[in-house]
Symmetry: C2
Subunit: 404 residues, 2 copies
């Protein structure tokens, strides 16, 4: 039961009921397509007449189209409805420190065209390089009306100003990406943290996680980020910085982190940490802090994974150590939020056969009730970071209406 937010509510008008039911029908079509009007009425509980009117409206607005006829044991054959893939396009942009990928997607969140560019150091230059590529993507399928642009960022976006306020890996500080992108393209732009994007991708399109009420995504790369879906909603916190469990301490008075805190989770369970474990094991005598940092430049995580796959015992041990700390950081999340599922995103999932059992075991040891929480790796094929940006835009039409 939600409390009504008296500082920001929407009253109901005569069209509110339609808005609500239309969104429900649209969602049912998306998840059950192809589906007949009669079945929509059965699934939704609405009258067949009401479904017909809504369907007519959706067809007129070209959100859905009629398809082939279905089969029934007896009686008139149903007309199938399905989402109109020829109507709407969404641009998704996944900004990462080295490479930015972008794509045009249809209503089913299938990618129709993709592109990528090296991420420049300067955010202004980034915008000027990005805009022509966005335009090119839009021209790739000119029959599609572009509904908006979703952007996934390795940082945090201020809830009010929509400015990027914290992106240490990018080196950008307090930059407004939304306004110039909207001006240049004429499309509404939605920004979101990468972990949050992944979380949206999972609950909207995830094979196992779709529709879950409570889900936590843990993105593991140079740092660790968390995307929290609780009560079917993204948790952004008071200023948009929720999810920074990566900077919660797992080792009291441990290693100093760039955030100023000591013993942060991401100092022990990130890709960088695994590399540190490896180099320390490989050359224990020289394992001072300085040495470690220079070593990080010579071996990267990709390399480490390959070594582990080849059976290099030091690499395997480094991954196991990383997995143990991943589990130790996930444990309090399981205890505190009791999500239905935790999805791990990142290169480390490639070694899930070795890493997964250790994470699960550590969580089991360190958390109070994890019986119900599944811990699974994300499928990188689905490109959750990029696909989440599509969800970001689609939720405007498919999400629950803003009411009360």
């Amino acid at each position: 039961m939600r409390r009504i937010d008296l500082s920001n509510f929407q009253v109901a008008t005569s069209e509110t009921a339609r808005d609500i039911n239309r969104r429900i029908v649209l969602n049912l079509i998306r998840t059950h397509q192809p589906i007949s009007r009669a079945d929509l009425a059965r699934y939704s509980g609405l009258q067949r007449s009401t479904v017909s009117v809504i369907a007519e409206q959706l067809i007129k607005e070209r959100w859905i189209t009629e398809g082939a006829n279905g089969h029934t044991p007896r009686g008139r054959r149903p007309t199938f409805l399905h989402l109109n893939k020829e109507r709407v396009g969404i641009i998704g942009i996944n900004v990462r420190p080295i490479l930015t990928t972008l794509a045009l997607a249809d209503l089913d969140a299938n990618f129709l065209a993709q592109d990528s560019l090296p991420t420049p150091q300067d955010p202004k230059q980034f915008v000027s390089e990005l805009v022509p590529r966005v335009r090119k993507l839009m021209r790739a399928r000119p029959e599609l009306t572009c509904e908006g642009i979703g952007v996934s960022l390795p940082g945090r976006v201020d809830l009010e100003t929509k400015r990027l306020v914290f992106a240490p890996n990018l080196g950008w500080k307090d930059f407004d990406l939304k306004t110039p992108l909207e001006k240049a393209t004429g499309l509404p732009v939605e920004l979101e943290n990468a972990a949050n994007s992944c979380a949206l991708s999972e609950i909207c399109f995830g094979r196992r996680a779709e529709g879950l009420r409570n889900l936590v995504v843990v993105t593991v790369s140079e740092g660790i980020g968390c995307g929290l879906i609780l009560n079917h909603q993204l948790v952004q916190g008071s200023t948009g910085t929720a999810g920074e469990f990566g900077h919660a301490a797992v080792v009291p008075d441990g290693l100093e982190c760039s955030c100023g805190n000591r013993g942060c989770w991401e100092m022990y369970a990130s890709n960088s940490a695994a590399i540190r474990y490896y180099t320390q094991a490989a050359s224990p005598a020289r394992a001072t802090k300085r040495r470690t940092q220079t070593a990080e430049r010579t071996i990267n995580f990709e390399h480490l994974l390959r070594l582990a796959e080849q059976g290099d015992s030091k690499a395997v041990e480094a991954l196991q150590q990383m997995a143990k700390y991943l589990g130790m950081g996930i444990a309090p999340i399981v205890a505190g939020l009791a999500p239905d599922m935790i999805v791990v995103v990142g290169e480390v999932t490639r070694a899930w056969q070795q890493v997964g059992p250790i994470i699960r075991e550590t969580v089991k040891q360190h958390s109070f009730t994890c019986a119900e929480t599944q811990i699974v790796p994300s499928d990188p094929i689905t490109q959750p970071r990029l696909r989440g940006t599509i969800a970001l835009v689609l939720l405007k039409h498919f999400g629950a209406p803003a009411i009360a």
Copy 2:
């Protein structure tokens, strides 16, 4: 933006708009009373005619009443509306290991009558002792129609079965309190964990926390519990066990906890922990584990607080140690959930002048961005545990409607 839950949604009917607007109006009356229809229209954005119809309906159903006339510089005087305190009663029950308190409250969550009883060991006996007292409370103001019973419990309630599944301090195991209480009284019963109740109390009636979007309540007594309000909603987790940050580790391989984990937060920051710190300091030689446990029976936390108030340095140090660990456990919550406010509930708030600054300082040191999160003590006068049970019942009428 919320994703629509396709396994559990409500379509809109012709009455949905009224339901929504009615709840908005009811909330505006509650927070702004006395208030005129014209002002309600201004605050809500609804037409004056619509407000009038809704007000008429609420008056007819005796939720509100017309009061005195107001004053305006010119023009017809407004008729004030306010909640009808003579209409609805709510029974609240706060179950604690030693003492159970219960009260009858009005629509403004003011207590009209209170009662208490020693909590018996046997849950069945508890029900049979409780029921006559509930009936007595209802008879105290026979003109009030009782809307329901809210119960706050030191344990966790399974979301589906509504059974109490985990209440170590009570010694009850998997007990159904709801069904017998509903049968005996004929009233709907809502059960909720005590920390969650406090959280509801704070966002519904709290002086500082009312209406906050993201709030975490930390209840500190023999153990530590957390009530999470995120996006104006209680977070219950997949099975109703969310909030058990008390069983997240703050000390790796630390003291063994009854939950089986090691180094749990509540082993270091609960009242019991403070007592352990005190007894260890008072007789360091005999501070084996066994000794400590027997000592706990001789000194209680109440006693410790009084010693600290009198300036006993060992007692003060014990509280400071407790405060430090409180801060260390709050830090990851601040980092991970970025709430607008953290409210600390428990006896320890009596020593807030000493404890508060240490908590704040520790959190500042150990969390990434706490600039926005206020950390405040709850006011025990407001009886948040008990008042939260009223919120539990009132939210059925004042909460956002279940839609889509």
